[in-house]
Each structure stands twice: as C-alpha cells, then as structure tokens.
C-alpha cells in the first residue's frame, strides 16, 4: 500500500483523507502546522474504520517529517480568498506558504508526485515546479477535474440520468474563463447536443463556470470541499494504484495545444509516475481559442 501525505488538515484535506480511505487507495498522513488538528481528525476517522471497514490507516501529525517516504503529496494548505481580498495579494500569500512546504517535500519525499489543490491552482502548479525543481510530469493541479465533475453533475441532473453514465470535459484555467467542451461531454458516448437543446447546453456551461462561487454564496463564505476532495482522491488513486486514468489536470504545458510556459488543465493519463501522457485531441477553432485565452489570468498572477 502506497503512502499519501496531505498538507493542510482543513476541510479539503480531511475530506480527501476520508474519500481516500473509503476507496482504500492509500495510507494517509495528515499534516498541519496547527498542533492537534491533524491528530484529532485522524483519530476521528480511524474510530469510524471498524464500521466503514477501512483497509488503510490514517495518521495525523504536526511534525512535517511524518511525510517522509510518501509516493504522493497533496498540497491543500493556504488561505481561502475572502470577498474584497485582492486576487494578486491572495496569490502571493499562498505562494509563500506553498513555496515553504515545497522545500520540505524535496528533502523528505524527493520521489513524490505532487497534487496541488491550493488556489489559484494553475499558478500554484508553477510555484511548486519552481520551488521543487520536479519534472512537470510529477506536479499537477486539480482544477479541470473539479470542473468536470461539476459539469457531469449538471448534465446528470438535467437529463435525470445516472451520473455513472456521464463523462464531462472541461479544460483550460480554473477561473471563470475555464473551457467546458460540450462536444466531448457525453452520456455513455452520446454527445449531450443529441440529448438536449442548445440553450440547455449553454445553461450547463454557465452553471459550471459559476459552480464554485454559487457554493461560496450559499454556504455563507465557506468554500466548497466535497467535490474538490473527491477530485483529489481520484488523482491520489490514479497515482497510488497506478490506474492510468485519463483526468483533466493542470500541468505545465510545453507546446501542447499551442501553449507553452503556463499550467492549464488538459486531459492527462495518470499513473504511478504522475502524468504519463497528455492527450492532444482535435478541438474546434473556437474552443482552442477559448482554451488559449483562459491562460490570461494565470499569466497575470505569475
């Protein structure tokens, strides 16, 4: 059983541990600089283990050396942007936190694949790459996959079909400029355009873009964490169980889709080594342009 360490025992980190345990995907170490929180959460989860039949252990620590030897590290630490908080300033604050963590990852888990969840996620992938010096295959952000699961939910809800039958594709940056791709959003292979009107497709695309802020508003300034955690758990499983799953993840591009030097979400085949392959699929001119344009806010942060 491989080991994953989760940096940051907030809602996203702890729920990721929860989903990972339910999936039996890896041993989990929760770490947070705040003393007691990781230990407490891990203990609570493990006390559920006899009923939930977990086959993997979860431990918590405020000692960073507990991440030693991890095959995967999830970075879920950082500040949540509150209304009025300047986006540039938010980025710089989180970049400082993430940069410091990266130094410890390099010394304690030099072989790890790093899964980035800290916002703004695409820019943070670049921060991690710079701070660790890891190959781009070993650093990925969970932007696109989160947007995909949200879009898949909206499609399933609209058509009243099982979410198991829905596969959605969202690419580009994890911002309002994200690029939902209706042509590659399908119900058991059938394009959604054959199952709903153009207006409905447009409504789903816009709901996907707004999904994060809708939850922020509804939950009264607490951000989403179930869907983000499910996306993290899926990537952890792909790495730790070597599933070769194709997932839309934010990776540093090097000419793919005509884009370089900026991380954006693209379909990646993910296994034990991290990103095994970036799938380059034909996109409509319009979609391709939207994809390239979505890099703009990320470039601005960087």
């Amino acid at each position: 059983m491989k080991k994953v360490s989760i940096i940051g025992s907030g809602n996203v980190g702890v729920n990721s541990a929860f989903f990972i345990a339910e999936m039996a995907a890896a041993q989990v170490t929760l770490f947070d600089i705040k003393e007691g929180i990781s230990e407490g959460k891990a203990l609570d989860l493990m006390e559920a283990a006899p009923i939930r039949c977990y086959r993997t252990g979860i431990e918590g620590s405020s000692d960073i050396t507990s991440i030693a030897g991890s095959q995967a590290v999830v970075i879920a630490a950082g500040l949540i942007r509150t209304p009025g908080h300047d986006r540039g300033e938010h980025f710089r604050e989180n970049a400082a936190i993430v940069g410091e963590i990266c130094g410890r990852i390099v010394s304690l888990a030099p072989e790890a694949v790093v899964i980035v969840a800290t916002e703004p996620v695409d820019a943070m992938v670049k921060v991690v790459l710079d701070a660790t010096g890891f190959h781009r295959r070993r650093v990925m952000g969970i932007g696109g996959l989160l947007d995909c699961t949200r879009m898949a939910h909206f499609v399933s809800d609209e058509l009243n079909v099982s979410p198991r039958d829905v596969s959605a594709m969202v690419m580009g940056s994890h911002t309002r400029l994200m690029v939902p791709v209706p042509e590659y959003t399908r119900v058991n292979g059938i394009p959604i355009s054959q199952l709903m009107s153009e207006e409905t497709v447009a409504r789903i695309v816009s709901a996907t873009r707004e999904a994060g802020s809708v939850i922020l508003d509804l939950a009264q300034r607490a951000n989403a964490y179930y869907a983000p955690s499910s996306a993290i758990a899926q990537v952890v499983e792909a790495v730790c169980v070597d599933t070769h799953k194709v997932l839309s993840l934010s990776v540093m591009l090097d000419g793919e889709y005509g884009v370089g030097q900026v991380p954006l979400s693209v379909p990646c085949r993910v296994g034990a080594a991290g990103v095994e392959e970036i799938l380059e699929v034909e996109l409509d001119e319009e979609v391709l342009k939207a994809f390239r344009d979505s890099a703009e806010p990320v470039r601005r942060w960087l």
């Binding site: 791709v181 399908r186 059938i190 194709v246």
Partner: protein, 308 residues
C-alpha cells in the same frame, strides 16, 4: 425488501446472483428445473454472506411459486451456444424454454419487470413478451450493455487507459449484425475516432462483434458468463434502485429508428418503470443501414420461429 428472481441457475444465472448479492440491494431467488442444484447454490451463496457482508436472502428452488412478489425477473434459462453453432440454431429449443418460463413468471409475479438474457436474444424477447402478456416497457433484453462492456475493455486495453474512462455504444441485434458506434465510443469523452486510426477502430469493432464467439472458441464446451452476468446485474440494479441509466438494451420498437414490432438494441432510459424512454440518436446513413440490416435479421428470426 426488494426481490429479484433468476430463472436458470446455470453459469450466467448463478454468477448474476453473485453480482447482485454483492450489491446488497435485493433478496434473490434462483429457479431451475434441475432438482437440488439451485437449492445447493442458494445455500452456498448464503454461507458466504458473513464474509462477503451481504444481508440479503438467497434461495434456490424448483418451484415457480417462490418467484411471487418479485420486482424484477431475469430469464437466463436455455441451452448455451456450442462451438460452430449459430445463435439461430438455438431458436427452437430456447423458444420453448423461455416461453414456458415467461408464462409461469406472469402467473406468479404479474407486476414484475422481465429482463431476458437467453439467446438468440432479440427473438427471445418477443417470445417472452407474448408468453407473459406484459406491457411493452416491462420486457427487455440484455445485450447492448454486454457488447458495450466488451468494446470498452478492448479500447481500454488497446490504449492503456483505465476501463472506467471508456464508454461505448453498441446498437442493433445481439449477433453478427450488431452495430458498434465508434463515434459514440469515448475515452474521457473523446471519441476513439479521434484517438485511433480507422484501421484500429475497425479492428476493435470487429473484435466486439465477435466477442462472444471468441470466448466460445477458447472454451470449446461453453460460453461466456462473467461479462453477461455483470451486464445483467447492472440492469437489475438500475430497475430496483430506479437509477435512470442511459444504456443500450433490446427494447420493443414502435416506429423508433423506422422499425415496428421488433426488439432491437437501442439506447434506453432504464428505471423502476422498465424501459422509460427510447433515445433516438442522429445516425449517419451508414450507421442507419447497419441498424436496418440488424433489424431485418431479427425480423427473419421471428418469421422462422413462427414457421416452426
């Protein structure tokens, strides 16, 4: 507690029982004409329950009265296909078996939904429909999910991706005239037509068409039952839990896709009411021609059955 009955406790029936038991969603009754065999399998399954953690009751019986109260009934009874045997060769024998089973089910579980698995599938659906007198949406055949899961596996194996990334759509009759739709067969949403060469796509489609025969060729004295049973369990689950799956299955057509009065593999919405909707796809002229050919083969089969 929900209840499902499985007619025929052979490899397909018993393995189907296994998959449904593991889902822990319904009590299961296996009916077979062979004395003692379904009872033995029922006990064996029940004795595995503490380890496998299913709490449902599993019973084997030779008596159709035990089917009473079933929400779903699966008909797997029939003789299996032997090497070199065409599905049509099974026609006469299996029509008798399936017709008898459907009539008995109608007697004891008149409100159930019927899922037919016996081959030749599309024709056996007609036999079951007529013998049961059930409403059209309460009778369907398991074929498309099986053909699709084979296609999905072949694509995943070829591309080195997770099987769960691949979705596939296979329409038409469950036979040599089945219609794999590569345009609607995807990896993470991307059609395989954009990921593989036309030659590779054709080879995978062909392997799917011959998927059943490939296994028969290896086994020599039997046919596939794991994938068929898993496919059937998916359909049972969708009906029992009202899951609204959008999956291909043999449904009775009344003008959809330009066909009338035949069971043919088409995408359906599957829920507690059985075939809740038939989805009509925009097909290319070539795909439509293949589907027509498939419908023609099913129609011919029904005609030869009527002339027996």
């Amino acid at each position: 507690v929900r209840k499902v009955s499985i007619i025929g406790a052979g490899h397909v029936g018993a393995t189907c029982t296994y998959y449904i038991a593991e889902k822990n969603i319904a009590d299961i009754v296996m009916i077979d004409v062979v004395e003692g065999m379904p009872q033995a399998k029922g006990m064996d399954f029940s004795q595995a329950a503490p380890l496998r953690r299913y709490g449902v009751k599993i019973l084997g019986s030779n008596d159709y009265a035990d089917v009473a109260g079933s929400d779903v009934v699966v008909i797997t009874a029939g003789i299996p296909r032997k090497p070199g045997m065409d599905r049509m060769d099974l026609l006469r024998t299996n029509a008798d078996i399936v017709g008898t089973a459907a009539a008995r089910v109608a007697e004891y579980a008149p409100n159930s939904t019927l899922i037919v698995v016996s081959n030749p599938l599309d024709i056996m659906c007609t036999v079951a429909l007529e013998a049961s007198g059930f409403a059209l949406k309460r009778v369907m055949g398991m074929a498309g999910i099986l053909d699709s899961t084979r296609f999905r596996y072949f694509v995943a194996e070829k591309m080195g991706v997770a099987v769960t990334d691949v979705h596939a759509m296979v329409l038409g009759g469950h036979g040599d005239t089945m219609v794999p739709l590569p345009r609607f067969t995807t990896v993470a949403g991307f059609p395989i037509t954009k990921l593989l060469s036309p030659g590779e796509v054709e080879a995978l489609s062909d392997r799917t068409r011959n998927g059943g025969a490939e296994i028969v060729r290896h086994l020599k004295t039997g046919s596939a039952f794991y994938a068929p049973a898993a496919s059937t369990a998916e359909m049972v689950e969708a009906v029992l839990t009202n899951e609204k799956r959008l999956v291909p299955a043999a449904a009775y057509l009344r003008g959809e896709y330009g066909h009338e009065g035949v069971f043919l593999g088409v995408p359906i919405l599957l829920g507690k009411n059985g075939v809740e909707k038939i989805i009509e796809l925009d097909l290319t002229a070539e795909e439509k021609t293949m589907l027509d050919k498939s419908a023609e083969a099913v129609r011919k089969g029904i005609e030869s059955l009527r002339s027996l």
